[in-house]
Structures are given as C-alpha cells and as structure tokens.
C-alpha cells in the first residue's frame, strides 16, 4: 500500500485516479494551494475548500483511495493583502472540518514580510486547532529560505514532530532532519527531486521521518512518482521495510497526529461502490459501476 502525501487532485483526471489505484496508491493528502494564477476574491477560496472536502473526496473514494486534505493560505497568495485576511477568517472555520489533517501548505515563496506574517499566523491557527502543519519551502533562495523556515518553526514553539517540511533537496535535508521535523521530497519529472537522487538520499539518511510525494498539479508532473520511486528504491536494494516506512507508515503516522482519523483503520482497504452519487453526480459516464 502506498500513500501520496502531497498531490493536487483537483487538477487531475479520473485516468490518473485509475492509474494511481492500479499502482497501489490507497491514500492521499491534497494540500490547499493556488490555482496557477492568483484568485481575486475570498469567495473563490471558500468554493475551492468546499471542493476539496466534497467532490474531490468523493471522486477519490470511487477509486478506492482515501482522500484527506490540508487547509491553508499558500505563501504566494499571502502577498495579496486585499484577500489574505478574509482567507484567514475562513480558515478558522475550515480547519475544523472533517477530513482536514493539517494546516498547509504554508511558508515562504518570495520570503516577503507579508508571507512571514501569514506563515506565523497559520502556525498559531494550527496550534489552536491541535493540527500538524505542512510547510512549503521556496524554490528560489531555497537554502536560506529553509533555514529561515526552521527558525520560525522553532520560535513558534510548535512541537517539531507536528511539522512536515516539504520539497527538500540535498542541501536542505540534513538541517530539517536535525531539527526534529519530518522531511518531504517532491519527485518531479524535471525539477525538484528525481527518483535516483531520492534513492541516494534514503541510502544516506535512512527512512526515519522521511516522506516522498508527487506534488502533482496542473503543471508537468507525474501522479505515479510515489510508486515509481518505491520501485527505484527496491531496485537499488533498499529494504521492503524501509520502503513501507517511507511510502506508507510515515505519512499515516504523521497525519494521524491530527486525531482526525484512526491510523489502524487505514490498514483495511476502502470499499468501492461506484453506484454512489455526490449531490446527484456520478463519476461514471455510462460505464457499469464497480463495487468491491
């Protein structure tokens, strides 16, 4: 069983869900993020949050995949002061919703004072809601941005075991692991991290507090990167136990700290019933419904 702890399914098709299920993915976390371009109204965030909790969770379930999500104001859009406060107000409500397992993705993009303000405010929100946090690290000036992220986390007083720091690379991983936080890696076709480099990192740093994800979204990305990287690790002789720790146990245990689901229940397969409807809508278009 595999877990993709960072994937933006609202941008993906049912073909992707089928392929992911066939490749062994049984659970996913969809972090709230931006849509490739900035939203111009607070209300667009609310409808997006509702889609994550409603239709997207239903779609995933139709393919036997458990769908959890994180709620947050992403760093890019935190720079728009006309909407940021309104979104923060919405988040106070949405972090309480069923199926929300963390506050995220939050953190820095351009490393502006505005980003820092909302990053810190959302750590406080997570503390109040007793939720873990999922932190995006910047692509530009990455090393410095990650160091500053760790400093903010430390200063906030949130327990490091409640913090997952994502998009690590060769230059950020050691510092993140030393901090006691969990370390995510986004395996991408061309940028961020690739399968072979990930194998090398696992050989060097082990499996403890290590996670991998596809971060698949509306850009060039691959929703099968978790199974492909698991295979690359197996081919390189990494133990089945270590692979299971990285690709299943770690994400289950990290997000189970939310108290919003029972980690043990995830050992059982999710029943599929494609006869079900969501607000009258089916994922089927004339096909025979699958039930298992």
């Amino acid at each position: 069983m595999l877990f993709d702890p960072h994937i933006h399914m609202t941008s993906r098709t049912t073909d992707d869900y089928q392929a992911m299920a066939a490749a062994g993915i049984r659970a996913i976390v969809e972090p709230a993020f931006w849509l490739g371009q900035p939203r111009t109204h607070v209300g667009s965030f609310e409808d997006y949050f509702l889609a994550l909790l409603g239709w997207e969770r239903f779609r995933a379930s139709q393919f036997g995949i458990r769908h959890l999500c994180t709620m947050g104001l992403n760093p890019k859009e935190a720079n728009n002061s006309r909407i940021a406060d309104g979104v923060m107000e919405l988040l106070r409500l949405y972090v309480e919703k069923d199926g929300v397992v963390a506050v995220g993705e939050i953190g820095y993009d351009d490393v502006t004072p505005q980003e820092e303000k909302y990053f810190k405010a959302q750590i406080e929100l997570a503390k109040d809601a007793a939720l873990p946090i999922l932190i995006h690290t910047p692509h530009r000036d990455k090393k410095r941005g990650t160091e500053r992220t760790l400093a903010v986390v430390k200063e906030s007083g949130i327990a490091p075991e409640l913090v997952l720091i994502d998009h690590n690379n060769e230059e950020t991983l050691a510092g993140v692991l030393d901090s006691g936080c969990w370390a995510g890696h986004s395996i991408y076709p061309a940028t961020k991290m690739d399968e072979q480099r990930m194998v090398t990192l696992v050989q060097r740093y082990g499996a403890e507090r290590m996670l991998i994800n596809s971060a698949a979204d509306w850009g060039v990305s691959d929703p099968l990167k978790v199974p492909k990287t698991a295979q690359a690790m197996k081919d390189a002789g990494i133990s089945a136990e270590a692979i299971d720790t990285i690709c299943w146990k770690n994400p289950v245990n990290f997000f189970a700290q939310s108290g919003r689901f029972d980690a043990k229940s995830f050992d059982e397969a999710l029943a599929i019933d494609q006869r079900e409807l969501f607000e009258g809508n089916s994922v089927l278009r004339g096909q025979a419904p699958r039930t298992e």
Binding site: D109, D110, R140, D141, N169, G219
Partner: protein, 219 residues
Amino acid sequence: MSERAQLLRQLVSDSWPGAERFFERATPDLSAPQSVGFRALYASVPRRLGALAERSVEPPAELAEATRPHWNLTDYTRAALVASAFATQPDEWQAAAHLRLFEAGEIGEQVSLLRTLPLLPEPARFLETGLQACRTNARSVFEAMVCENPFAAEHFPALNFNQAVLKAIFMEVSARRIEGLDARITPELQRMAAGYKSERLAAGRTVPVDIDYLIQYGA
C-alpha cells in the same frame, strides 16, 4: 486630455483608419474607467484592430524614450485608452484601478498593461501591479514585466528585484533581458545566485549561464 494621451491617440490614428470612430464611441466609457464598459473596451482592442493588432508602430520623437520597439498597435491602443481614462480620475484612485485592470485581465491584456506601465505619469505608484505581475506562471506576462522594460530595475525594492532575477532564470528567460540589471547586481543577489549554483551542482545538474554572469559581475 493629457498631452501624452493625445500623442498616443494620434499615433494610433495614424496606423488605424477606424481609430477616430473607436475613440469617439469610447468617450462615455473613458470617463468611468472602473465600469464594465471600459474594461470590455480594453479587452476588445485586438479584435477591433483585426489584422493590424500585431503591427509594429514607429513612435514620434516625444515618445521615443518611454516606448520600446516590440510594442505593437494593440499595446499602443490600450495605452491610449488607459492614458485617456486615468487623466480624468483622481490620483489616489489610479493605483487600485490599475491593479484591478491587471488582475481581471487575460494574458494579452496583462501583457499590454505591463509593457506600457512606464508611460503612465509617476509610474512608481503602480508598483503593486508590477509585484503581483511577477507572481505569474505565464511566461509572456513575466517577460512583459521584466524584459525590455525599465520598470523593475527603477522601482522594485531589492527583495522583489532579486526574486524577479532568480525567477527569470527558473523560467529560462535570459536575465540579461532585464533592463537595468547590471546597476542592481548586489552582493545579496550574487549570494542568491551562488546558492542556486551550489544547489544545481549538488543535484548533478548544469548551471545556467546567467548564474555565472551574476556571480562574476564586477569581479
């Protein structure tokens, strides 16, 4: 109407036989630039220009310094609309209206608005539009803001300017197309460039030539 608005209208009229009628019919909307009417007019420019939309234009001497050769008739016509409409409105209103026009624009509208930003009086007032523009994922919008455009180097704070330079490299847009780059290369920008070089090498990847240009500048 401001002198600049008149110059722009004249320039458009010299290239487009339908210009006079277009501006005449636009008159009521020009006095209400926040209206749907004005925004629809702004959006419709290339369609109204038809085959002339992409045509290049030779500006008069008075506009030579503030314009750039890659601007086309669509850009000039839109700039004429903005210059005419904004001239009728209070100063304190203009920055928010400009940002709204940008946010609600599709890619072509955004490109025209950003390219011609330096034509507006006291362009520093429109910094927020410039900063938001750099958050785009659309290459043509990003290029319109930072390439062959003096605005970023003249008005961006250091933090945003440095991020724009790095973003150009990430988007595979040559940083040397950023007008005024050299004068804004600082030790901090060089540190960021060196950090990116180190990260690329650690990942077993090649280093873009612009990175070495930045690191070695002034050495």
